[in-house]
């Protein structure tokens, strides 16, 4: 396996090619964002940071970014608040219809998002929730709770029930068992669930397109609208910042989870 040779060389080449294919379009955004042209083209005729400066002059995008961050934050908190008790009930309790409820709660993962978006549009129009915070939060919860539930039930599933039973036998009432044993042990799962929910909400376009209004816009949708009317490299500059932000989040979380695993969790 570790032998060096032509096979290994070509394997590495293949991996590099695959990465380029997957990440190429993303990487291309970086040089374009430093273009001095006023349209997206390759290669740029000159280099400048003017599009980064121009971003500061975009109150619409700024507002949209603020909305997206607030939305993702609220959705993350609510999704975890809903998914955590649900995951505990689903993986620790035993009641009739457990599997059916699990299937129902994770079903939105399988639905085409465009269908979900249309359905929400129809409902929200009659309720006057288009372009409203509750509408957006509700729609994003519908989308993200299944992810959170999946991650949390997996985290709970890998946590041996006997550890909780041991705590109970040592005199811990159910709530103490949860806060002293279950919760600390599933912390990596919680962090992972929060990260996924945040990113899904922050990046979501399809459903959001149906339910944003003139008063309330999110960053991905605002960008989408922007490129419909303009083709300057400003979007590239914004994209670069979004990519870096996402990357930063992933790295920080990986560090956090990795660190936690190093402290507790693993082995045993």
């Amino acid at each position: 396996m570790i032998s060096a040779g032509p096979g290994r060389f070509f394997f590495h080449l293949l991996v590099v090619a695959l990465f380029l294919f997957l990440l190429g379009p993303v990487l291309l955004v970086f040089p374009i964002s430093f273009s001095a042209d006023s349209f997206i083209g390759w290669p740029p005729s000159g280099w400048s940071v003017k599009w980064y400066v121009a971003m500061l002059d975009q109150p619409t995008l700024g507002e949209a970014l603020r909305n997206s961050l607030i939305l993702a934050g609220i959705v993350t908190a609510l999704a975890l608040a809903i998914a955590l008790p649900a995951a505990v009930a689903l993986s620790r309790g035993s009641f009739p219809g457990r599997d059916a409820i699990m299937a129902l709660l994770t079903a939105p993962l399988l639905l085409p998002t465009i269908v979900l978006g249309l359905a929400l549009l129809i409902i929200f129009v009659t309720q006057g929730m288009i372009g409203s915070w509750p509408g957006l939060i509700l729609a994003h919860l519908l989308l993200t709770v299944p992810y959170a539930l999946r991650v949390l039930t997996t985290a709970l599933g890998t946590l041996p029930a006997s550890v909780e039973e041991a705590a109970a036998s040592l005199g811990a009432p159910p709530l103490s068992v949860f806060f002293r044993v279950t919760l600390p042990l599933m912390a990596p799962g919680l962090v992972a669930a929060a990260a996924i929910v945040f990113l899904v909400s922050f990046d979501e376009v399809v459903i959001t397109l149906f339910i944003v209004g003139p008063q309330l816009n999110t960053l991905p949708v605002a960008l989408f609208r922007y490129v419909e009317s303009r083709t300057d490299p400003l979007v590239a500059a914004v994209s670069v910042l979004m990519v870096l932000f996402t990357l930063l989040l992933v790295v920080v979380l990986e560090r956090a989870i990795g660190l936690r695993k190093a402290i507790g969790g693993k082995g045993g």
């Binding site: 041996p160 006997s162 550890v163 039973e165 041991a166 705590a167 109970a168 036998s169 040592l170 005199g171 811990a172 009432p173 159910p174 103490s176 068992v177 002293r180 044993v181 600390p184 042990l185 402290i263 507790g264 969790g265 693993k266 082995g267 045993g268």
Partner: protein, 355 residues
């Protein structure tokens, strides 16, 4: 003396499976009782019902005269040592031990003192700040034991606590458990499927099969006076031979007439003789109370401290075990040998009716 722990017609059903059936058992204060039986006979299920980790389908559990059947585990005051230890991976050894004391609202100073004492008891003083995964299997097992004992529970439940250890450590730990249990005078239920472990440390043993209690008795009774063929076969090695009980009480094994214990018969019976209770010899031991026979050696196996010899006697093949001696290889296959064994070592049970 009133029993400390009583099980009354305890029962557990999983759908159609009856994992434990009509189990009635009384354990005295300070007694170590073994639950012994083959895999799947309901040992763990019984223990979990006693500890409150699993509701009973029927029956009652009584501790010191108080019915605890419906009590949740955290109100039962029982220490449980799990087969996989189930230590808290995010806490160090001292925190693991301290957990049960915190739940009992013991003041911090006393908590620290008791943790230190418990660690000394299992000789792990130097490991207080280690995480469970930084300990060997044997050390983890000792932490699990200390964690269950430090709360000074009224009853200690152990589910195959030694099964993950190697042979030497196993023996050391089982003696340690026995010592601590006797020193603290704690009532304990010890689940195992290892008969030598049960025989070695238990005051009494409950042998189970398919959820049913087959026999309850001291190790001596279980070994020397097994209640039935299953118990005799499960506890210790044993030869089995079909025979017939005659009207005069003697037993016919092919051409051979022998004497045996028990009252089974008349009619078809099963003889059971432990291999190490048969002497190979010159017939000098023959006399009242002894059975003797002549047979042909068919196989000889040298197992270090034991010599195991297979002898064909009429319709039966008997395994004979002897201590091995240097310079004495023992009889070879084909040799004719004399066998002798005591009448009381010939266990007789009714032949099982083919179902």
């Amino acid at each position: 003396m009133a029993p400390h722990l009583e099980l009354h017609a305890l029962e557990k059903r999983f759908g159609a499976t009856r994992a434990v059936q009509a189990l009635t058992l009384a354990v005295g204060k300070g007694e170590l009782i073994g639950l012994l039986g083959p895999s799947g006979c309901g040992k763990t299920t019984t223990l979990r019902m006693i500890g409150g980790l699993m509701p009973a389908s029927a029956g009652r559990i009584v501790v010191a005269g108080r019915d605890v059947t419906a009590l949740p585990p955290h109100q039962r005051d029982m220490g449980i040592v799990f087969q996989n230890y189930a230590l808290f991976p995010h806490m160090d050894v001292a925190q693991n031990l301290s957990f049960g004391l915190e739940m009992r609202k013991i003041p911090a100073a006393e908590r620290a003192a008791r943790v230190t004492r418990a660690l000394a008891m299992v000789r792990l003083e130097a490991f207080a700040r280690r995480k469970p995964r930084e300990l060997s299997g044997g050390q983890q097992q000792r932490v699990a034991l200390a964690r269950a004992l430090v709360i000074e529970p009224s009853i200690l439940l152990l589910d195959e606590p030694l099964s993950n250890l190697d042979a030497n450590l196993r023996e050391e730990m089982r003696n340690e458990i026995r010592d601590i249990q006797q020193r603290l005078g704690i009532t304990a239920v010890f689940v195992t499927h290892d008969q030598s472990e049960a025989l070695a440390i238990c005051d009494r043993i409950a042998v189970m099969r398919l959820g049913v209690l087959e026999q309850l008795g001291t190790p001596f009774e279980i070994y020397e006076r097994p209640a039935n063929e299953f118990v005799a076969g499960f506890v210790g090695r044993v030869n089995r031979a079909p025979a017939e009980r005659l009207a005069d009480g003697r037993l016919r094994l092919g051409e051979l007439l022998v004497q045996g214990s028990g009252t089974a018969g008349p009619g078809p019976v099963t003889l059971m003789i432990r291999p190490h209770r048969i002497r190979l010899g010159d017939g000098a031991l023959e006399g009242p109370g002894w059975n003797s026979a002549t047979g042909t050696v068919t196989r000889r196996t040298f197992v270090g401290d034991l010599l195991s010899i297979e002898v064909t006697v009429g319709p039966a093949t008997l395994l004979v075990e002897q201590h091995s001696f240097a310079g004495a290889p023992g009889p070879a296959p084909g040799d004719a040998v004399q066998l002798a064994w005591r009448a009381e070592d010939t266990l007789v049970f009714p032949a099982r009716v083919p179902a």
